[in-house]
Symmetry: C2
Subunit: 556 residues, 2 copies
C-alpha cells in the first residue's frame, strides 16, 4: 500500500472547483446561489422539488468503537463512486461542531481520498449556521430571564427552568452554573448551565423543519420551563418565535460544497445523536434528491441510534424513505466487538471477528425488519488480512446479506466502484418496503418497549420512579403521540457501554424523560448523557496555527 | 418637509448594486473578492497599499444625549456627498453588535437617506466576525479552565482570573455567575461572568492589528489572570495564540458593503468606547485609504472619549492621522446640554442653545489643541428653527469655527453638498499638524492627568487606594509605557453623567485599572462601567419577524 499524506495535506492539494461551477453542473443558476467565498454557497429553499424517482441511500454503521469505522468516509466515497459509474449523486452530510475541533484532532469531513472540502472552513465557522443557532438559543434564554426579572407575568417557576444556554465549545466548567448573582439589578439567581450548541433543541428543529413557516411554528412550541401551576411555558408564550426565526433565516438554507472529486455535497445541520436525532437536515436531504438522482446521506453513531431515529423521527416527519441502507463495518471494529483489545488489532484474529460480527448481524436483522434492503460496506484498513476479509464475507453470505469492500479512504471513488455498482443494482432489483416498527398512536411505554426489544434485542424496559411520574405528566400535556428519541450509550446495543458485540438478556433502565415539543419528540434518557463535552489533557488547539497569508495549520 | 418612510422601508427599497460591481468600481478584481451573498464581501489584506495622498476625515460629536446626534448618519451622508461633488470617498464604519438589536429598536447603520445596506444583515449576523470573536474568547477561557482542571501547571490563582466569557447578547443574568459546579468532574468552582462580545479585548485587538502576525502576537500577550506569585499569566503561556488566530483568520478581513447611494463602505470591528477604544479597525481604515481618495470614519460616543482614543490609541498605534475632524452637533442635543428637558425640545429656545453650546466649544477647543482642523456639522432635525440655526452658526463664527448644516438624513448625499465642499476646501487649505497631548514615556498618572485636564477640562485626578496599588503593580509589570483607555460616562465631560454642558471645577476619581496588554492599553475605570447590557421591559425582539420568503420585519 502506498504512503498516504495527512487529511489536511490531501485536502489542501485538491483541485477544487469554484462553487459556481459545481452549482452550474447541478443546473443551479448563479442568481440562485448565495456564495460564501469561492468554494461554499447557500442554496434557496425553492430549489426543492418533488422528485419521487430520486433514490436515497442511508449510510449507518455497527456500534462505534475506538478503532474507528469511517462512516463519513464511506458516505463521501460512495457518492464519489456513484458519479464514477455514471450516476448523478449528491452527498448530504451533517455539519461538524467547532467545539470538539479545539479538543481532539480529527475532523468530521471524511478522510483520506474521500473528504468534503474546504475542510478547514467546514470544521471551523463554515457559513455560520451553528453560530446562528447559538444566538437564537441564548436570545430565548435572555428573553426568559428578562421576563422573570421584569415582573414574571407568566408566573414562571424559577426552580423549573428547562431552557438553559448553549455554546459551541467544549467547556466542562459551564455544565453547572449559578447565574443572576449580584443583587436585584443583575437578574434573578437561578441554576443554569450550558450545553454544546449542537445539543440545542433548535438544532434538532432546524433539521426537521421543511420551511421558514414550519421552523417558526416549531420554535414557538419549544418548552422553556414550567409555571407555578406546573404547566409548560413555551417560546410562543414569550412571543419571540418571530425574532428567533429571523435569526435563523439564513441558517435554514443548505450549504453547497464538494468532495475531493468534485461530487456535490450539501452539509447542513448536525444535531446530537443521543438527546436529538443525529441526522442532517430534512431540507438538505430533500434538496439533494431534487438536484441529483441518488442521495447518499448518513445518520449518527450506530444503526441502533442513528438509523432507528432516521427511520422513526426524520422519515416519519418528512416522508423521506431510504431505498437502501448501507451498514459500514470494519474488521478492526468487529474484532473489538469480539473482545480484542485496541492494541492487539493489528494481529489477525478470525475467531474474534466471527464472534464480534454478531453486532453487525443484529443491525442487519433490525434494518430488514423495517422492510429495508441492506448492503454491508467493509471499510478496508491497512492491517486487515485476506483471511479476515474472506471470513467476514462468508458470514454475511451465510446470512444472505450483500457485502462489498470499500477502499475509498485510500483510492477515493475508484475504491468504491464495486460498492456503488452493487448499491445501484440492489436499488433497482429490490424496492424498499419501509414500515416503522411503532405507530404514533402507541403509548410512550409501548414505543420505548418496541425499540428496546426489536432494535436493541433487549428483554424489556424498567422505568425509574421519576420517569414514571414524567410519563403521567407527559400524557397530561398531550405529548404521548410523539415519537421517541432514545439517549443511550452509542458503544453498546444495551445501555451498558462495556457490553460489546451482541448482548442478550438485558433490560434498559429509563431514568428521565425530556420534552422537545418543537422538534416533536420525547427524549428518553438511559444513564448519564453528556451534553457539554470537556477538553482533553492536551487540547488539539495547542497545535493549531495559521500562516501569515492565512493557511490553516495543525488542524488535523 | 415631506413624509419620510421608516429606515427599514428606505433600506429595502434602495436600488442596491451587486457587491461585485461596487468592488469593480474600486478597481478590485473578482478574484480578490470573497463574496458573502450578493451584497457583502470580505476583502483580502493585500489590498492595503501606502497612499499618503489619501485624506482621512474623522467624524465625532458632542457628548451624546437622549435626543440623538446622528453621528453615523452624518458619516454615511458625508461619504455620499463627497461622491456627489466628484470626490472618490469610502466610508469606514464600526460593525454593530447583535445583542442590543434584540433589546432596543434602532440599528447602527445610519438613518433616513444616509444608511449602509443591507442593514438587516449588517445588524444581525453580518459576515460572522463577532461570532468568531465570541468563539476565540470563549476558547481561551475553556483552555484556561481546562489547564486548571488538569493539574494547573502554571499555578494560576483561581481567585484572580481576569479572563471571563463573552456572548453577543444582552443578558444581565450572566454578569455574575459561579461556574465549575457539580463535583470534580465538572471543573473547578470559580467566579466568572459574561461581557457582551464587543467588550472583549479580542475585539479591540482585531481593530488595532495590522496583519495576521501582529494579531497573533497581540493575542499571545493577553493577560488571563495571575498566578500564586501574583505574576500575570498570558494566552501565550497557554499556547493557544495560534488557535485563536486561526479562528479569526477571516474575521480580520474588512467587509465591503455600500450606502443607499452606492458609496462603498467598509464595516469592520466595533469595540466598546469605554473599556476599549471605540473605533473601527485599523485594517479597514487603511484599506479605505488605499481604495479611495477620502476616508470618512467615526469614533464612539463624544469627542472626549471617541476622538481622544482615536488620536491617542488608534492613531498612535497605526500612524493613521486625521486631516479633518467633523464634530456633529444637533440643536436638540445642545439645548439638552443647556438644561432643556427631553419633552420640551420642540420648543424654540435660543438661550438654552447658547448655554449648551459650551459643550461643543470645549470639544472644538480640545481638537484644535491636537493640531487638527475642525468642521462642525449641524445635523438638522424637523423642529429646528431658523433662529436657532442662525444663533448656532453665529456662536461658531464668534469662535472662528467652520460650521455647515447637514440635511443628509432627509436628503441623502444631496443634503450634504455644503458640508462636503467645505470639508474638501478645509483639507486643501489647512494641513493637519497632529500632535498627541501626551507621550508614551509619561507616567500613567501623568497621562491620565493630561486627559482629565486638557480633554475633559477638569482640575485633576483622584486615585482610589485600590487604583494606587494597581499603579505600582502595573509599573512592576512594565505596562506604564502604554496609552490610556479611559472608561468614563459618555454623557458628560466629567465623570458625573448628570453634569451636562461644560462642567468646571471637577476632579475625576479613578476607581480601578485593568490591563489590555494585547490591545496595548491600560483601561482606567471611573465609576461603574456596564460591560453586559440588559434587555428593556419590552424587548424589540417581540416585534421582529420574517416573512415566509425570508424578508425581515420589525427590525427597526
Amino acid at each position: 500500500m502506498s504512503k498516504i499524506p495527512s487529511d489536511i495535506e490531501i485536502a489542501q492539494q485538491a483541485s477544487i472547483k469554484r462553487v459556481t461551477q459545481i452549482a452550474e453542473e447541478l443546473g443551479i443558476s448563479e442568481e440562485k446561489l448565495e456564495p460564501f467565498g469561492h468554494y461554499k454557497a447557500k442554496l434557496p429553499l425553492d430549489l426543492i422539488s418533488d422528485k419521487p424517482e430520486a433514490k436515497t441511500i442511508l449510510v449507518t454503521a455497527v456500534n462505534p468503537t475506538p478503532a474507528g469505522e469511517g462512516k463519513s468516509t464511506v458516505t463521501v466515497g460512495l457518492g464519489q463512486a456513484l458519479n464514477k459509474i455514471g450516476k448523478k449523486a449528491v452527498v448530504a452530510l451533517r455539519e461538524p461542531s467547532l467545539g470538539p475541533t479545539m479538543g481532539m484532532k480529527g475532523g468530521a469531513c471524511g478522510g483520506g481520498y474521500s473528504q468534503v472540502i474546504p475542510m478547514e472552513d467546514i470544521n471551523l465557522h463554515f457559513t455560520g449556521d451553528i453560530h446562528a443557532i447559538t444566538t437564537a438559543h441564548n436570545a430565548l434564554t435572555a428573553i426568559m430571564d428578562n421576563h422573570i426579572h421584569r415582573g414574571n407575568e407568566l408566573n414562571i417557576d424559577v426552580r423549573k427552568l428547562t431552557w438553559k444556554r448553549v455554546m459551541d465549545m467544549n467547556d466542562r466548567s459551564l455544565r453547572n452554573i449559578v447565574a443572576g448573582l449580584g443583587g436585584p439589578l443583575q437578574g434573578t439567581p437561578h441554576e443554569s448551565g450550558f450545553d454544546i450548541t449542537v445539543a440545542s433543541e433548535i438544532m434538532a428543529i432546524l433539521c426537521l423543519a421543511d420551511s421558514l413557516d414550519d421552523l417558526k411554528n416549531r420554535l414557538s412550541q419549544m418548552v422553556v420551563g414550567y409555571n407555578y401551576e406546573n404547566k409548560p411555558v413555551t417560546c410562543g408564550d414569550l412571543k419571540v418565535e418571530g425574532a428567533l426565526t429571523l435569526l435563523l433565516k439564513d441558517a435554514i438554507k443548505p450549504n453547497l460544497v464538494q468532495t475531493l472529486e468534485n461530487t456535490p455535497a450539501l452539509i447542513h445541520g448536525g444535531p446530537f445523536a443521543n438527546i436529538a436525532h443525529g441526522c442532517n437536515s430534512v431540507i438538505a436531504t430533500k434538496m439533494a434528491a431534487s438536484l441529483g438522482d441518488y442521495v447518499v446521506t448518513e445518520a449518527g453513531f450506530g444503526a441502533d441510534l442513528g438509523a432507528e431515529k432516521f427511520l422513526h423521527i426524520k422519515a416519519a416527519s418528512s416522508g423521506i424513505k431510504p431505498d437502501l441502507v448501507v451498514v459500514v463495518a470494519t474488521i478492526r471494529a468487529l474484532k473489538m466487538h469480539g473482545g480484542v483489545n485496541k492494541n492487539d488489532l493489528k494481529k489477525e484474529n478470525v475467531e474474534a471477528l466471527r464472534s464480534g460480527s454478531a453486532n453487525l448481524l443484529k443491525h442487519a436483522e433490525t434494518l430488514r425488519s423495517f422492510g429495508l434492503p441492506i448492503l454491508v460496506a467493509v471499510n478496508r484498513f491497512v492491517h486487515d488480512t485476506d483471511e479476515e476479509m474472506e471470513a467476514l464475507k462468508q458470514i454475511c453470505s451465510d446470512h444472505h446479506i450483500p457485502v462489498e469492500t470499500a477502499e475509498v479512504w485510500e483510492k477515493g471513488g475508484e475504491g468504491g466502484r464495486d460498492l456503488a455498482n452493487r448499491a445501484a443494482t440492489l436499488i433497482e432489483e429490490k424496492p424498499s418496503a419501509f414500515t416503522p416498527l411503532y405507530k404514533s398512536g402507541d403509548s410512550l411505554e409501548q414505543k420505548i418497549d418496541t425499540i428496546v426489544k426489536r432494535v436493541y434485542g433487549g428483554e424489556g424496559v424498567v422505568f425509574s420512579n421519576n420517569a414514571q411520574k414524567q410519563l403521567t405528566l407527559f400524557k397530561d400535556n398531550g405529548w404521548d403521540d410523539l415519537p421517541i428519541c432514545m439517549a443511550k450509550t452509542q458503544y453498546s446495543l444495551s445501555d451498558d457501554p462495556s457490553a460489546l458485540g451482541r448482548p442478550k438478556n438485558f433490560t434498559v433502565t429509563v431514568r428521565e424523560l425530556r420534552i422537545s415539543a418543537g422538534a416533536g419528540f420525547v427524549v428518553v434518557l438511559t444513564g448519564n448523557v453528556m451534553t457539554m463535552p470537556g477538553l482533553p489533557a492536551r487540547p488539539g488547539a495547542e497545535d493549531m496555527d495559521v500562516t501569515s497569508d492565512g493557511r490553516a495549520l495543525g488542524l488535523f
